[in-house]
Assembly symmetry: C2
Homo-oligomer: 221 residues x 2
């Protein structure tokens, strides 16, 4: 690559540029295939400067995960008004989530795919973020149950499972929305509310799904 | 490791033993960290024999993905009676899915985590399997909508999004169930039916979730 001319610039600004470039390359190429040469070139700096600032490919990747996990959690948090009913909070949180993952598809790829499969230190960073989001969703489900006047008689494990299901559905929809032209954050959020909340709503109101008995004769509508 | 004594055994049987060992090591260590030495040792064969039969670590991993994807789809298919109402089919399909992923946690780790992040040939194998499952769920949602007498006036894109959400929820719950002692396949399936079907049921019956207006004064119960 040779030396790249670098203007004088505060270290913090340079570092953010390196992270911007790294998130893009890690997200698009994957962690293993990403090259430090390409990251340095995209950031407009020399490779030794990347190593000087971020130390190693591992540390650079960790810094990317940490920054993007923080940004995603912050975006969701900022999107939610805590004084609204639980379903409205979820609606706003999902809207913020899909807006952020849609605007930052490479960051989402780093968090959702890359960070989870290249060993413990990386996976642990994402696990911490995911647990924070699951805890937020768990609180919303409990608040929703209280609003529906069924004061927590949903077993704790059932609530934990529901929160996992909701977060998994959101993760899957984010990947799908990013891969499907024309799907907006609002549509993705509406689809998930339709899918999840109406169902959670029934559950909280004491109407769980139960298998019907097989009809004895022709299906009665 | 040195030569390992190997009894005479048909090649097909030996290959399955190698794949059994490889799934376990790939699932527990991850693709990158997995060593061919360890796989050969666990399979009770020499490393050259693994290379002779499966050619390379890449090909061995591909063979694992292909076998386990096929087994999972087959387990779900075998668990479903197609003459039942759509919700019962989903209930049985989910039961079979969680039973299979619970009995084969290493295979699930290979499919859900490892296979998706180590480049295109591997990811494509899993994508094909996932598309088959999404298509199955899509058909169930359409069938459910017909049973609810709302002949497909759910837009195609909405149904596609719902199917993605349901599959993502199931993936997330499978990982959670495998990591949480004491969660049975039946409980995971029941949680997801509670979460998903009651909600889909409302949607199919023409009762989508809609944000309530913010209450003008104190919350009215």
């Amino acid at each position: 690559m040779g030396a790249v001319k670098t203007k004088r610039m505060p270290r913090a600004v340079r570092e953010q540029q390196m992270l911007d470039a790294a998130v893009r390359i890690f997200g698009q190429r994957g962690y293993m295939a990403a090259s430090m040469d390409e990251i340095a070139e995209l950031a407009g700096v020399s490779k030794p400067l990347v190593y000087l600032y971020l130390n190693s490919k591992e540390d650079l990747f960790t810094a990317c995960i940490r920054r993007e996990a923080g940004a995603l959690v912050e975006a969701v948090r900022a999107g939610v008004r805590r004084d609204l009913p639980a379903d409205r909070q979820l609606w706003e949180g999902l809207g913020a989530f899909f807006a952020h993952t849609g605007e930052n598809p490479d960051a989402w790829s780093v968090l959702h795919l890359q960070a989870r499969t290249h060993g413990e230190p990386f996976a642990a960073e994402v696990t911490a973020m995911r647990e924070e989001i699951v805890a937020f969703v768990t609180q919303l489900i409990l608040a929703g149950a209280r609003e529906a006047h069924r004061d927590p008689d949903l077993p704790e494990r059932e609530v934990a499972g529901l929160a996992e299901a909701l977060v998994g559905a959101a993760e899957s929809l984010a990947a799908w929305a990013n891969a499907t032209p024309g799907v907006t954050a609002r549509q993705a959020a509406a689809t998930l509310m339709n899918f999840a909340w109406a169902g959670l709503g029934d559950l909280m109101a004491g109407r769980p799904w139960a298998p019907r008995e097989e009809p004895p004769g022709p299906h009665v509508g």
